[in-house]
């Protein structure tokens, strides 16, 4: 195998404006004198793995210089012996798309919404290969067949919004493959997609790699996913390479404590469920996180009972027509104090709508939500306000769920002021500080603004905001999905601790079966607004009854297995 791409001692820094006449730089890749080096051979898949902020995307984007103008690069990026850092613009332009192609994370925003799929596919064929439009169209159709899009002739005329997320990503891959590149840079190509679609895309990439003989630089935060596809793995953290080696080596015999921690801190489907997850610091300190799983009282009082809950949206059709879209249909469940109900399903299955309807952030169409025997949905405003205290929600995106203009203190004091908890401001502030301590944050956080915190810290703050009201039920709407695996483990541990301490009941909405298995007692599987399966977490995983559930379980990345190679 000949070397195709060789990155040697790469360092990237971003200029961050001037302060006192000195240009401020933020190191994105490389720390101090240490740069990033690795090689990609021909017909090989190399995975760059790391958490957010590890510099993996910046490393990949600096190969063809798709970085913002304020980036400064040093080191060497050798493409078949030619240093791309010294290359001029025309050389780079000729390389981009022609020999090195890119696929990005979000297919919806990577495709231009005002051009049809066909027009976008033809563009690289005409500009790089000099094909005539008619020939290019025929080739485009061939490409769509290759990436497995049904009815390619019709799809050529379709606009991006008419395709599903998975199909859009297939189109992006088809565009990338149009000029038969030698290297495909795939930057988190499946992160925005459902697990089942992710599996299809991964399989497609593996197939294409074999048939076209191309090399893939695969960037991901998910070590388990990487294990299925990569030959070589490069683990990055904070801008430097922690460990690199073959997939077998990384998975069987990880040398670096960080790699070991990454492998361990994700809940898994196969192994026995621990009471707590290991976090990175535990690993690096050589501690082991133990503690017996807390046995739950199966006869705890029923706190929340949902009967035949339904929510419809009305879509306009034609000039006067309306069509009913049933987002949630006939959902029934009971939730006991101190228990966790997991809700899984793909995007669009109605799980978030169901959660919002429970809190009446959406008005339900029919059904009953009995909280302590009283129907939440027919309460008058005053009573409703009182009930609001008892059921709270944590949202998915920690970057959007805190008001950026409020200090953390204001954010935490506001709910207490609204509900008249605590006698005066001093008392409320005191309580807010205690809660910050409870979710594992420093007292100093009180006067700061949300943008000064990381995603995991913000999610802790969001949880603390809910706790100010002493709720009994927490709806966790994909509350850990946007977090890095190590941070995810910390937040999951925190949720467990809080449940044990305060007897909270959770409704845990997630697309991630492994996480749901870790935290839930009972699981609802939703599809197209309906509950297709409902059983205890262990039963669902060991003996799924429905085809759909089996498909979901099968799609979860399994990591590196000797058979997969």
């Amino acid at each position: 195998m000949a070397g195709l791409l060789s990155i040697q001692d790469l360092k990237v820094a971003f200029r961050m404006g001037q302060r006192n006449g000195v240009v401020q730089r933020a190191e994105a890749v490389g720390r101090g004198a240490v740069g990033v080096s690795f090689d990609v051979a021909e017909n090989q898949t190399v995975a760059l793995v790391g958490e957010s902020g590890s510099g993996k995307s910046v490393t990949a984007m600096s190969i063809v210089n798709l970085l913002p103008d304020n980036a400064e690069r040093s080191g060497r990026v050798l493409w078949r012996g030619q240093d791309l850092l010294q290359a001029d613009r025309p050389t780079l332009r000729a390389l981009r798309g022609r020999e090195i192609a890119c696929v990005f994370q979000d297919p919806m925003s990577s495709l231009n919404p005002v051009f049809s799929v066909g027009e976008q596919l033809i563009e690289p064929l005409v500009t790089h290969l000099g094909l005539k439009p008619r020939a290019a169209l025929a080739r485009a159709e061939q490409l769509l067949v290759e990436v497995g899009i049904p009815e390619p002739t019709r799809r050529l005329k379709a606009y991006p919004h008419e395709l599903s997320g998975g199909q859009q990503q297939r189109v992006m891959i088809a565009m990338a493959l149009a000029c038969e590149p030698k290297l495909l840079i795939a930057d988190e190509p499946t992160t925005a997609l459902d697990v089942t679609i992710q599996r299809q895309i991964i399989e497609l990439l593996a197939k294409l790699r074999a048939s076209h003989g191309l090399s893939v630089l695969f960037i991901s935060h998910d070590l388990a996913l990487v294990g299925e596809i990569a030959d070589q793995v490069v683990v990055m953290r904070q801008g430097t390479v922690r460990e690199q080696g073959s997939a077998a080596q990384i998975f069987n015999d990880p040398k670096d404590a960080y790699t070991r921690a990454l492998l361990a801190c994700r809940p898994s489907l196969a192994e026995h469920n621990p009471a707590r997850l290991m976090v990175i610091d535990d690993h690096i300190a050589g501690r082991s996180a133990h503690g017996a799983a807390h046995a739950k009282n199966p006869d705890a009082p029923v706190l929340l009972e949902v009967k035949a809950l339904a929510k419809s949206f009305w879509l306009k059709e034609g000039l006067f027509g309306k069509r009913e879209f049933k987002a949630v249909r006939d959902v029934n469940f009971r939730l006991r104090r101190g228990h966790t109900l997991g809700v899984v399903g793909e995007s669009g299955s109605g799980k978030t709508t169901m959660g919002l309807t429970l809190l009446r952030l959406h008005e339900p169409t029919e059904g009953e939500v009995l909280f302590d025997g009283r129907n939440l949905l027919t309460l008058r405003d005053a009573e409703r306000q009182a009930m609001r205290r008892r059921i709270q929600i944590v949202f998915q995106n920690p970057y959007a769920s805190l008001n950026p203009r409020f200090t953390i203190g204001q954010t935490l004091v506001e709910p207490m002021t609204i509900h008249g908890i605590g006698g005066d401001l001093t008392e409320r502030e005191q309580r807010a500080r205690e809660l910050l301590g409870k979710v594992g944050l420093d007292d100093r956080a009180f006067g700061k603004y949300p943008h000064e915190f990381s995603g995991g810290q913000r999610q802790r703050i969001a949880i603390a905001r809910c706790l100010t009201l002493n709720p009994e039920v927490l709806v966790l709407d994909e509350a850990v999905s946007a977090l890095d695996v190590s941070v995810q483990a910390q937040v999951l541990n925190l949720l467990r601790d809080l449940q044990d301490e305060l007897g909270l009941a959770y409704i845990f909405i997630s697309h991630d079966l492994a996480v749901v298995r870790f935290i839930s007692d009972e699981v609802l599987v939703m599809k197209d607004g309906e509950v297709v399966e409902q059983a205890s977490a262990e039963t669902i995983l060991r003996a799924p009854q429905q085809e759909y559930t089996r498909k979901l379980i099968g799609a979860v990345p399994r990591g590196w297995t000797p058979a997969a190679v």
Partner: protein
């Protein structure tokens, strides 16, 4: 909110406005513009309390006195009428008032008469009545900027309130406000201004009301769009989940997050309204005749220019241009400072 007794003082982080001010300070052009705007505001404040330009209506110079730099106007050619020679004709025997002249002259001696010496030149020249153009332009700045800022405040209040309602509630409320917006934008502005002016009559208050009522539409659309965007954001949902009222969500949660849009839009409106006031006054629909603004000065200048008296036009234009350019540049610098996306690009 930090009145806690026993707890140690908290370190408070830099707020959004602090950070913006820090970024603004780094913008040299913005700082110079801001200094000019502040100087203008000081001047206007001084004029408002009567420290300067209090006597702008006094005719201190000869009519159309030229600026000092140019020196006094050459004496007008008196023409070629020849002085008649010979003694004065005595008409006292046919003048019925002749016996009274002496008496009157005696009486006139009891009063002191002093001929005021009118200045031949004035710093920036004089108008056709001999009023000092410098005082006029300072006083005019006060009226013009006052009208522009106040009208922008009125328009901002209307636009923000209606935009917030339309964006937050949507549905029937939104439809009604959209209809109102469409009615207002369908009529040409100038026509609307004429209609309001005809109903309300002339006066500074009228100009403010007219411009406010006509000018809210652009801000309305922008605020409405921002509210539509923000109302489904998770932090607003989270506020709803903790039981925050509708008003609190609209004005305590969302409004501060869109305030930079409103501020920048408002500063643009100030510029626009100052120009509109000038046009209105020029057309005779603006400020009353006993007051002065940049617009009335330009209207005066129309007649003077033909006679070659350009200084009133020049003074009003220079003041207006300086203020508006400085104000626009400062507003632009503020926009940059408030937009965190531009950080890092020097």
């Amino acid at each position: 909110m930090n009145n806690a007794g026993p707890v140690p003082a908290l370190e408070r982080s830099e707020g959004v406005w602090h950070a913006a001010w820090r970024r603004f300070k780094g913008d040299r052009l913005g700082m110079v513009s801001m200094a000019i705007v502040l100087a203008f505001l000081l001047l206007i404040a001084a004029a408002a309390v009567g420290l300067v330009a209090k006597h702008w209506q006094q005719e201190v110079g000869v009519p159309n006195a030229p600026p000092t730099l140019m020196g006094p106007a050459p004496p007008e050619a008196t023409g070629a009428i020849e002085q008649p020679k010979g003694p004065n004709v005595d008409i006292s025997d046919i003048d019925p008032l002749a016996p009274k002249y002496k008496e009157w002259a005696e009486r006139a001696k009891q009063y002191q008469t002093a001929d005021t010496v009118k200045a031949e030149t004035l710093p920036l020249g004089g108008d056709r009545l001999g009023r000092d153009v410098l005082s006029k332009v300072v006083k005019g700045s006060q009226i013009s900027v006052f009208v522009g800022v106040l009208a922008a405040v009125v328009a901002t209040l209307i636009g923000t309130l209606l935009g917030a309602l339309a964006g937050f509630f949507g549905g029937k409320v939104g439809d009604f406000l959209e209809w109102l917006y469409n009615v207002f934008t369908a009529i040409p502005d100038i026509l609307l201004i004429f209609a309001f002016a005809a109903v309300f009559g002339r006066g500074i208050g009228t100009v403010v009301v007219i411009l406010g009522l006509v000018g809210w539409t652009s801000l309305y659309r922008q605020v409405r769009a921002e509210f539509i965007k923000h109302r489904t954001r998770e932090y607003v949902r989270a506020a709803e989940a903790i039981g925050a009222s509708t008003t609190s969500r609209m004005f305590r949660h969302i409004l501060p997050n869109v305030s930079h849009v409103i501020l920048v839009r408002m500063s643009l409106m100030v510029v626009g309204f100052i120009k509109s006031e000038v046009i209105l006054s020029y057309l005779g629909l603006g400020v009353p005749v006993d007051q002065v603004s940049w617009g009335t000065m330009l209207a005066d200048a129309q007649g003077e220019l033909i006679l070659g008296y350009w200084w009133q036009l020049a003074a009003a234009t220079a003041f207006m241009a300086t203020f508006l350019i400085a104000f626009s540049l400062a507003a632009d610098a503020w926009r940059d400072a408030l937009d965190p996306k531009l950080r890092g690009i020097e």
